[in-house]
């Protein structure tokens, strides 16, 4: 009886009300699957499992998403719609724009500090004529009294028509969208997603080059931990004939699963040299190498200045080469670049306002989820 345990004597069958006939039906019959009992028996006919229902955009009358949580939720059409509406927002007279969210309230819930993103969202909401309620410091919310995140969101959903949420915990905005009937916009959740950053990156490229299809973009710096470049890879994969050059130091390369996921949708070239493909690229998208990712300062010091974008470096690139950065920058881009035509990063940050106006506008008519 090696490897075999015989337990107690058999008892009477016990009915189990939790047994799901649905799940049993999912068990596909395979003629190769032989019964372990020697008794011949009739076999239940196989049934195909039902496809999961598609809940997408069901309650947004304009056909757009009901929430903006992850860039992976956006189709190419959704992305283009945001970019088109953002372009409209830039041209729209202030008086007309301020009617879009007139009488509506945007709940700006920043569970962790963020200056740029919060100001950009609140400016966008104000431009559209919304009232803004919320907090920039969770210590002033009921969380400090021990209230759960989910309950705080339920309460915010009573007061706000659209919720903008920044949180240090991964997945918090997705949870918020689940418990709140009002539309939720993710303004950054931990190391997971920051969809409006990706949208404004795409908008900046489209505005500068007139299109995203066919763009040649180099992602430079910390490609391992930077959520910005991860999301940008996925978003660019929805466009045609995009070439991405991945430039990083050893140990900070783009995760393999992202390269695998985008295979067939992007042309990807990896290198450790920033000069190698410089003549080919339209955009150098630099990211900060984050000190907190290194176990000791010596290791960080070795790589922190591995790629510094200077006017001399840019002179080796093709004409019209642009530099983007999600900011804040530390030493990745020398300040001498700021006054050159290549510097697109401050404009990029400013583009956050029309992009966020577009999102707020597209989500304003979500009825109930």
């Amino acid at each position: 009886m090696k490897g075999c345990v015989k337990a107690k004597k058999p008892g009477k069958p016990k009915s189990n009300p939790k047994v799901s006939s649905k799940r049993i039906a999912k068990i596909a019959h395979k003629s190769a699957a032989k019964p372990v009992s020697s008794h011949a028996a009739p076999v239940a006919s196989p049934k195909k499992p039902k496809a999961a229902p598609v809940a997408r955009a069901k309650f947004n009358p304009n056909g757009f998403l009901t929430d903006a949580i992850s860039i992976s939720d956006f189709s190419r059409q959704d992305l283009e719609r945001v970019l088109d509406v953002a372009a409209e927002m830039e041209k729209m007279p202030a008086g007309k724009k301020s009617q879009i969210l007139a009488g509506k309230t945007v709940a700006s819930l920043f569970f962790e500090p963020s200056t740029r993103t919060r100001l950009s969202f609140e400016t966008a909401a104000q431009n559209l004529g919304a009232h803004i309620v919320g907090f920039a410091d969770p210590q002033v919310s009921s969380l400090s009294k021990g209230e759960s995140f989910s309950d705080t969101i339920r309460m915010a959903g009573i007061n706000g028509d659209i919720l903008v949420i920044r949180h240090s915990v991964d997945g918090a905005p997705r949870r918020a969208a689940e418990v709140c009937a009002k539309p939720v916009i993710n303004a950054g959740d931990g190391s997971n997603q920051h969809p409006t950053q990706t949208l404004l990156d795409l908008y900046t490229i489209k505005k500068e080059f007139g299109k995203i299809d066919g763009i040649r973009i180099a992602l430079v710096g910390d490609l391992k931990y930077g959520r910005t470049v991860h999301s940008l890879m996925y978003a660019l994969a929805k466009f045609r004939k995009v070439t991405v050059y991945l430039i990083s130091v050893k140990g900070l390369e783009m995760p393999r699963h992202i390269i695998e996921d985008t295979k067939g949708h992007l042309t990807v070239l990896e290198t450790y040299s920033i000069d190698k493909y410089l003549k080919e690229v339209d955009v150098l998208y630099a990211t900060r190498i984050q000190k907190e990712r290194f176990p000791d300062e010596v290791e960080y010091e070795k790589v922190r200045n591995a790629y510094v974008i200077t006017p001399e470096l840019l002179a080796k690139g093709k004409e019209g080469l642009k530099v983007m950065h999600p900011l804040p920058r530390i030493t990745e881009i020398s300040t001498e670049v700021d006054d050159t035509d290549a510097a697109l990063y401050f404009q990029q940050a400013a583009n956050g306002i029309p992009v966020r106006e577009a999102l707020l506008s597209l989500l304003k008519d979500v009825k109930a989820k």
Binding site: P10, P13, S20, A33, K34, A41, V169, D170, R174, D189
Partner: protein, 150 residues
């Protein structure tokens, strides 16, 4: 011939066959079978698999959630539902399309771990991968097996 001597067929309940070797221990760990009569076989010779594990549960049919757990742990398992010594349902247990409340997310910063919420995962095959609905963390087969909850 020795197979019949070692393992007695059950009259009513569930027989799980073709479990990959080593998986029966984990299955016993995560299923609450304290009220059931069970017979477990480890490293049983198999023509199809070389070695396999098997599990007979007398007097008990399994819930959907229990079947999902077994599917994730015991890749390619065959489940037979037996009533009055007759097999009334049988077949290879497919991976669930999604898994709710049965896998713990490996990301300690995931909202499900911070707020103690039931987890939700989308499941992909070839290779097996689970993606957290909330934090989007992706778990490999090995991580999934070790994270199936009781």
């Amino acid at each position: 011939m020795t197979k019949e001597i070692r393992i007695t067929p059950i009259r009513n309940g569930t027989a799980i066959d073709h479990l990959r070797p080593g998986s029966v221990q984990k299955i016993l760990e995560v299923l609450d079978l304290s009220d059931a009569t069970i017979t477990a076989g480890m490293n049983v010779e198999s023509r199809k698999m070389g070695k396999k594990d098997i599990l007979f549960i007398e007097g008990r049919e399994l819930t959907e959630k229990e079947l999902d757990k077994i599917a994730l742990i015991g890749k390619g398992a065959t489940v037979n539902t037996i009533r009055e010594s007759e097999i009334v349902k049988k077949g290879e247990l497919p991976y669930p399309k999604s898994a709710e409340g049965i896998i713990k997310c490996i990301n300690p910063r995931c909202i499900t771990n911070v707020e103690k919420l039931p987890s939700k995962f989308g499941i992909k095959e070839n290779p097996l991968e689970a993606k957290c609905f909330y934090c989007e963390t992706r778990m490999s087969e090995e991580e999934i097996v070790s994270s199936v909850k009781k």
